[in-house]
């Protein structure tokens, strides 16, 4: 399935992600990493460490609702793969980001922004792995999962 090339919207989206990352570091000294924020929300270290994560996640979750209220259009979530792919993919991502210490936002944006060698390596590895996986599911196996 073809999707439209949207360089301006995507650049705008990226800038907003960057603004959120800078604001979180400037105000609370925290890395805007989805993995770390979620993990600390599910398994909190302390009560004080939980509130900022919960409110941040509430902000993320309400974004599509606000988009819908403001524009009257619902946010497009088109999933071209099966429920099995969601379960298997979700489990592997969960284990992977826990051992890898971060995901696209934590390593790919905040880590590379600090020129962290760990984040540069992690990002190269997960990007290559994702490209290889899609090549296999779409062009070797053919039908996708």
């Amino acid at each position: 399935m073809i999707t439209d090339f949207t360089p301006l919207a995507s650049l705008g989206g990226g800038i907003l992600i960057g603004v959120a990352s800078v604001l979180l570091m400037a105000n609370f000294g925290r890395v805007m990493g989805a993995t770390g924020i979620l993990a600390g929300f599910i398994m909190p270290n302390s009560r004080e460490d939980w509130g900022w994560r919960a409110s941040l996640l509430a902000g993320m979750l309400s974004a599509p609702v606000l988009v819908w209220l403001m524009t009257g259009q619902s946010v497009v979530v088109h999933v071209p793969v099966s429920t099995t792919a969601m379960i298997v993919g979700g489990l592997i991502v969960g284990v992977g980001v826990t051992y890898g210490g971060g995901c696209t936002s934590g390593h790919g944006v905040c880590g590379i922004a600090r020129l962290s060698p760990r984040s540069i390596v992690a990002t190269l590895v997960f990007m290559i792995a994702a490209i290889g996986t899609v090549y296999v599911t779409r062009h070797v196996i053919g039908a996708g999962l």
Binding site: P7, G59, H78, G90, I92, R118
Partner: protein, 144 residues
């Protein structure tokens, strides 16, 4: 007041993810499908986010402390080790299978799309299981 600020930051992040196309697996998977229906849009998301963050961090991290907290919480681990590489490779494989990364899925939960909810439940299960296994293993050497 603090939580209002973090809420607003989460909202900005969520808008960015949605506008950029990261909450839409069809678009994400096409970004990885270089040999097929390639859609390079997500390079602009990464590029934009990285430029703003790199520039902003240069000013922010020069300060003695954040505005509303005592210290900057930056990762202490510096070594490029086996768990980092194996974990990141696994993450990439899962991302290529499902089309969601954690940052893309979390704002998408708000759409109540059943696929997102399924992915997030599996993601949380994966994180919890891995944390429990990690906690039971010696920190260095064993897994690697």
């Amino acid at each position: 007041m603090r939580f209002l600020i973090t809420y607003a930051i989460g909202l900005i992040f969520g808008f960015g993810i949605i506008l950029g196309g990261m909450a839409n697996p069809a678009k994400v998977l096409n970004f990885f499908d270089i040999a097929g229906t390639w859609d390079p849009s997500l390079a602009f998301v990464m590029g934009g986010a990285l430029c703003v963050t790199a520039l902003g961090y240069r000013f922010v991290l020069r300060r003695p402390a954040p505005r509303l907290a005592d210290v900057f919480h930056l990762p202490a681990v510096r070594a490029v080790d086996t768990p980092l590489i194996a974990g990141s490779a696994a993450f990439g494989i899962g991302w290529g299978i499902a089309g969601f990364c954690p940052g893309g899925a979390l704002p998408a939960i708000g759409t109540l799309d059943p696929a997102v909810l399924t992915f997030t439940a599996a993601l949380i299960a994966g994180i919890v299981v891995a944390k429990i296994i990690k906690a039971k293993s010696p920190p260095v050497g064993r897994i690697a």
